[in-house]
Symmetry: C2
Subunit: 350 residues, 2 copies
């Protein structure tokens, strides 16, 4: 297969981990005889520094014209304490999602057997956890009308959802559930929010088309509890943008290291793959960043193009690295490897 | 002291646990020579059943004219799967908060030494946790304009905050921090929401009046992670209504039993005290509901009226019960006591 991939490695540890993901894809390319071409572009704080714009037009055009986007991370401490700055790295990411129509953010959360003891949660609580979170990514309060009155004393954000926005991600989530343990949990706040009541209505309607999938409804406050009390009860979680942001970050802690968690953002014509850990500026350039989340994001890319055997090869490499504890300091305090060496091991393994 | 207390015991286990809280207050009354009078009123599903209204006018009037409200719980399974029903128990609670102006919801979260092993989190993670969450309770997306178009295909909720709404609860939270470990963490999503940026601006401004308090800002997604990774880092958490709902329920899991967690809802003229566990319909009438959250809510009531020694007496009784494991089945599977017997022990202890 021929694939053109835009590489937006961004800020902080983004470049370091993304280059390990590229290396893994190169290994796949050689072993399975595919042609992947990689094209770099700017995003985030580095794009602001160089062009004044967190998402330069060139970057957007490149992303829209390639088959997939490999994303690193964005964010720089110099913007962190000033969320009111007129130009900020996050704006680049939010605009990218919107412009590319990446309406479904998919985050797998898995408790790896070899890492059960790294979790802040007890082993018996997390054992067997294997969740796929489907978060709506281009609607809701993130993109609704914002308002600040002239005096700067009243501020508002609108959380709006249309039936169509709910339908398209719901179909993806139900299809995923059919291939998994056939359970879908809608997380909402339907006892308070009108938009949540629409989610519940639309999902109830769609559920009829997927009669083999069991549907559950959970209020977001209860979901935040259940995620800690009994995470293995979940299979596919479906939810709106803001609740998905919170619940998926909460869930990311289960596995013992946020350095393992990959994500895919999917639209009708574009797709983007991204480790969820963010730019982690304190670690930049030290060779201590865990590349596994980026590498697993590359595996999600392959799965998206139905290259299942290829994705499996990457995942096997990752699991081997975890098993042998050939990992970075977040997982291995005694005898850690560098970012690059972990990438090398997985490359060689493939 | 003379106090008139409205008792809204509500649904499910509400009546059972509330009567134990009243018993504890009666013990205090005798020992410290106060006069507490209790007046019952309807709220929730039981109020719908009897009057068609989850918050009858009589109840509202009673609450507005007494010194304090002791609240049990609301909610009944017959409404749970139908959040679109025109009349629902939650509406009673939300209207009560709004009409009484209870803008600050305060939830202490503590890891009791005697219960460290009951938590889904590891002992070393939760040890020393002692958080006081200040959640704004009468604004934000809960009470903003809701809209559903005629075709029922587009729904929205407005999250709006004014400077004044933010100020009044912030002052309470800063004052609380001054009496505690002098740290306040504002949880928001200022990198996305206009309303969060107003929170950050107003809180930064107010912080100048409390120069002995250290202020931190945390995005809500990160807060959801930190609550599990390292809960003992927090002292006072201040946040808006919806984030507070999610984060405080998440935090409630730390201590090992949600049956221990009390709350206070405070306004300028009224106050209400409530266990956070909800109506727990499956347990109703079985004598297995943990009365401690309700009893500790009564202690918060006493603290609100500056009866510190009295509150201490209740808390000592609770701690003794925990120490001796004289508790209900949620905490004691071997030799559990009934709801009533736990209440009796604390009564006798006082
Ligand atoms: C950086 C931020 C705007 C973003 C979000 O809230 O969506 C991030 O937290 C994420 O989850 O990808
Ligand atoms: C019952 C519900 C409306 C309520 C809320 O969301 O505020 C509850 O979850 C709470 O936290 O008291």
């Amino acid at each position: 297969m021929k694939l053109e991939i835009a590489v937006l490695s961004g800020d902080g540890i983004g470049p370091e981990v993304t280059s390990q993901a590229i290396k893994a894809l190169e290994a796949i390319m050689h072993r399975f005889d595919h042609t992947f071409t990689f094209k770099d572009a700017l995003v985030g704080a580095i794009a602001i520094d160089k062009t004044g714009n967190p998402l330069p037009d060139e970057t957007l055009h490149l992303c829209a014209s390639t088959d997939a986007v490999l994303f690193g991370a964005i964010g720089d401490p110099k913007y962190d304490n000033n969320p009111s700055a007129p130009v900020r790295p996050e704006q680049g990411l939010l605009r990218l999602r919107k412009e590319l129509g990446l309406y479904a953010n998919i985050r797998p959360v898995k408790a790896y057997d070899t890492l059960l003891d790294k979790s802040p949660l007890k082993r018996e609580i997390i054992e067997g956890t294997d969740i796929s979170i489907y978060r709506e990514l281009t609607g809701g309060i993130y993109f609704g009308k914002k308002h600040l009155n002239e005096e700067g004393t009243i501020a508002s954000d609108l959380c709006e959802y249309s039936k169509e926005e709910i339908e398209r991600i719901s179909h993806l989530a139900f299809k995923a559930a059919q291939k998994r343990r056939k359970k879908l949990t809608l997380v909402d706040k339907a006892n308070v929010l009108e938009s949540s009541r629409l989610w519940r209505k639309v999902v109830t309607e769609i559920a009829k088309e997927y009669s083999d999938v069991t549907v559950d409804f959970l209020f977001v406050d209860n979901a935040a509890m259940q995620m800690i009390l009994n995470p293995s009860q979940f299979d596919v979680i479906l939810t709106e943008n803001m609740f998905g942001d919170i619940i998926s970050d909460e869930a990311s802690v289960i596995g013992g290291s946020i350095g393992l968690l990959a994500s895919a953002s999917i639209g009708d014509t574009c797709c983007m793959f991204e480790p969820i850990h963010g730019s982690y500026p304190q670690a930049t350039g030290k060779g201590i960043a865990n590349p596994i989340a980026a590498i697993l994001s590359a595996a999600m890319l392959l799965e998206h193009f139905d290259l299942m055997e290829e994705a499996r090869a990457i995942k096997d490499g990752v699991e081997k690295a975890l098993e042998l504890n050939l990992t970075t300091p977040d997982l291995n305090t005694i005898n850690p490897l560098t970012t690059e060496k972990v990438g090398d091991f997985i490359y060689d393994y493939i």
